[in-house]
Amino acid sequence: MKVPHLRDLQKLKTEGEKLLRPRTLRIQVGAAPCAIAKGAREVITKLRDELSQQKVDATIISVGCIGICYEEPIVEVATPGKPKLTYGRITPEQVTSLVKAIAKGSVYKQHLLYRTDEEEIICTGKTFSYTSKTQPDLKKIPTKKEFKFFKPQLRMVLRNAGLINPACIEEYCARGGYAALYKALTKMTPDKIIDEVTKSGLRGRGGGGFPTGLKWKTCREAKGKEKYVLCNCSEGDPGIGMHKSLIESDPHSILEGMIIGGYAIGAHEGYIYLHHGNPSAKEKLRQAIEQATAYGFLGVNIFNSGFSFSITLKEGAGGYVCGESTALMASLEGRAGEPRPKYIHSVEKGLWNNPTNLNNVETWCNVPLIISRGSTWYSKIGTTGSKGTKVISLSGHINKSCLVEVPMGTTLKEIITTLGGGIPKGSTLKAIQIGGPPAGVLPASLADTPLDFDELNKAGSLLGSGGMIVMDDKTCMVDMAKYFMTFLEEESCGRCVPCREGVKRMREILHGITTGIGSADDLTLLQQLSECLAKASLCDLGKSAPAIVRSTMHHFSEEYQTHIERQVCPVKRCPM
C-alpha cells in the first residue's frame, strides 16, 4: 500500500485547485435529496442536451447540498477568469435560457442569486479567488458574503458542502483537506491532540453534549486489546436529514476526523454505522474510503508515522433506537439492536467488549478544523459553555426550509427570522421543537433562547442533533404530543417494561384526549407515567420519551383542558 508524503498531498491539492478553477466552463448542480426532489436529475439531463445542442464546452458536476433548499434546483456556473455565479430555481424549462446566456458570455439575471469572487477556505484561513478583476456589469449583484442567507452563518462543518465534487478527493484537498491529518500524524503526539480537542471545548453534537476531549482521554486510558472509533450516522429522527446531506456533500471530512481520532485514542479500526436506506450516502462513503485507501490516507504507516488505520462502512437495518450507543454497537456486532444497561461505559467496554469511542458525523467533522486552526482559534467561536457552531436543519411552518450552520449563541428567533424568512403570512409562531423526539417543545415566548447546550437544557429543551421544527398557531400541541408518542411506541425496542408499556399507555391516553373521550384523571396519569419512564427506563429513548408530553402539558395546559372539558380541539386538528 502507498505511503503518502507531504508532496503527494500538495500534488493532490494543486490538481484539485485546477478542477475548482478550471480552464473551461464548469457547471455545478446541487444533487442532494432536497434538490433531487425538486427535479435536479432532470435539470442535469436537460443541461447536457442543451450544452451539446448549443455547442458549449462545459463539465457538469453533481455537488452536495449548499443548504438553500427553498431555491433548489441550484446551478452554479464557473467561467474561467470570472466570478462564480449561483442561480436558483432552475427547472428544466429555464435551462435553455440559462445555456443561451452562458453561450453568449452574459448573465441570466432573473434567476441569479449571488456571485462568488473569492471564498475563504476555513481549514487554512486563506482565500481562494476565482477572479482578480472587478466585473463592472456584476457590481449590483450581491457577493456570497453579502447574500442574506450566508451573512449570519459560519460554515465550519459544512465548509465544503455544495462547493466541491464529493466524489473527488483532489477537490477536498484543494480546500485544505487531509492537511490536518498530516499535521496530527507528523507533528503531534496523541496526548497533544487530545489536549487540543479538550481545550477547544468541543462537545458531542449527537445530543448529549459530552466533552469530546474527555471522552477520547477516557478511551485512550482504558485497557483493552483492541480499541475502536465509531461514527454514528444512524439518523432515525423524524424530521432531520442533515447527516445524510453532510455525508453526500463532503464524505472525506468525516474520514479525516476519524483517522485523527483513531490516532489520538490508539485505535486501528474504525466503523461507520450508516442508517439503513440511504443508497447514495452509502455509495459516497464507499467511494471516499476507497480513494483515501488508494492514496494512503487509510492503510498502513500513514504519512510514515507508523500508525495504521482502516475504516469499515456498515449499513444498519433501521430502528431509531440504534442511534443509542450500546444499541448501535449491538447492531454492529450483527445482533438485534437493543441497548444494554450503561453502568459499564462503552469507552471501557463497548464494541466486542473493547474500549470504544463513538462520536457522530458532525463531531468528527469538527476535528480536522480544530487540528488545523488550533484550539485557541476554535474556542473563540460560540458561548462560554458551548464552543463552535451548530448545524441546524430548519423546517416546519417556515417560509424557507434550509440547512444552515451558525455560531453557538445565536438565538432561535434569529434563525427563524433571518435564515428561515419567518413564519408564512397569516400565521404566528406558536412553538419550536429543537432536538428531535427526546426534546421538549419551547413556546414562542422562549424563542430568545440561544443555541447552547446548557441554556436549552435550562429552558426545558435539548440541543440534540439540531433538527429544528417550527410550529405555527394552527398546530395542536396535544396532537403533536400524540404524534411523537406514536413514533416512540413504534420505535421502542421492547426490552424494558417502563418504555415498552409506558409509552404505549401514554399514547393511548393522548389518543383518548384527542378523540374526545379524555377525562381529568388522564392528566394525573400522564404525569405519573412520565415520572416512571424518566426514572426507570433502561436507555435514553425511554428516559426522554415523556419530555414532549411534559413540556406541552406545562406550556400549553389550557389546550389539554379544552380538549378534555369541552371536547373541542382549539385549532380543529383533532378528529372530535
Binding site: C69, G236, A317, M471, Y483
Partner: protein, 148 residues
C-alpha cells in the same frame, strides 16, 4: 435462491466481524425477501441458532421481510414536517388509492420518517422517486394501468 449464490454472499463477508446483518442485507437485496430455506442454510453455515437469525431478521422489520415483496414500493413520509403539513391524511389518501379496486397486490406501502426534503413536504417516495401528493396519486394510477 440457489445455494451457490448464497455461499458467494457468505464468502464475500468472510473476514467481516459481525457480518450477519450485512449478509441479510445482501440476501434481501438479491431476493427481495429472506426465504425460510436461506435462514436454515445460514444457521448451519454460520453456526448460529435459527432463533437468533429469526430474531435479527424480525427485529429490523424496516429492512428485512420474510415474505416476497410486491412490485412497487410506496413510502409515505411521516417525518415531523410532513406530519405538520397533514401527512397523516396523505397516508390515508395513498392507501385508498392503492386499494381502490379491491385488495392491492402491487404495492408495498410503508410509512417512513424523513427523506431529507422537508421543503417539499408532505412527500411520498415511489420506487425511489420523491413526489408530492398529486404526482404520487397519478403515478399509482399509472402503475395500476400498466399492470392491466
Amino acid at each position: 435462491m440457489d445455494i451457490k449464490t448464497l455461499d458467494e454472499i457468505i464468502e464475500r463477508h468472510k473476514t467481516e466481524k459481525g457480518a450477519l446483518v450485512s449478509i441479510l442485507h445482501d440476501v434481501q437485496k438479491h431476493e427481495g425477501y429472506l426465504p425460510e430455506e436461506v435462514l436454515h442454510h445460514l444457521s448451519d453455515t454460520l453456526h448460529l441458532p435459527l432463533s437468533e437469525l429469526a430474531r435479527v431478521a424480525t427485529y429490523f422489520e424496516q429492512a428485512f421481510s420474510l415474505e416476497p415483496r410486491r412490485n412497487h414500493t410506496i413510502k409515505v413520509c411521516q417525518g415531523t414536517t410532513c406530519y405538520l403539513k397533514y401527512g397523516d391524511q396523505v397516508v390515508t389518501e395513498i392507501r385508498d388509492e392503492a386499494r381502490k379496486e379491491g385488495e392491492d397486490t402491487l404495492f408495498n406501502l410503508e410509512v417512513v420518517r424523513c427523506r431529507g426534503c422537508c421543503d417539499s413536504a408532505p412527500v411520498v417516495e415511489i420506487d425511489g422517486n420523491i413526489l408530492d401528493r398529486e404526482s404520487a396519486t397519478r403515478t399509482i394510477i399509472k402503475l395500476k394501468g400498466e399492470k392491466k
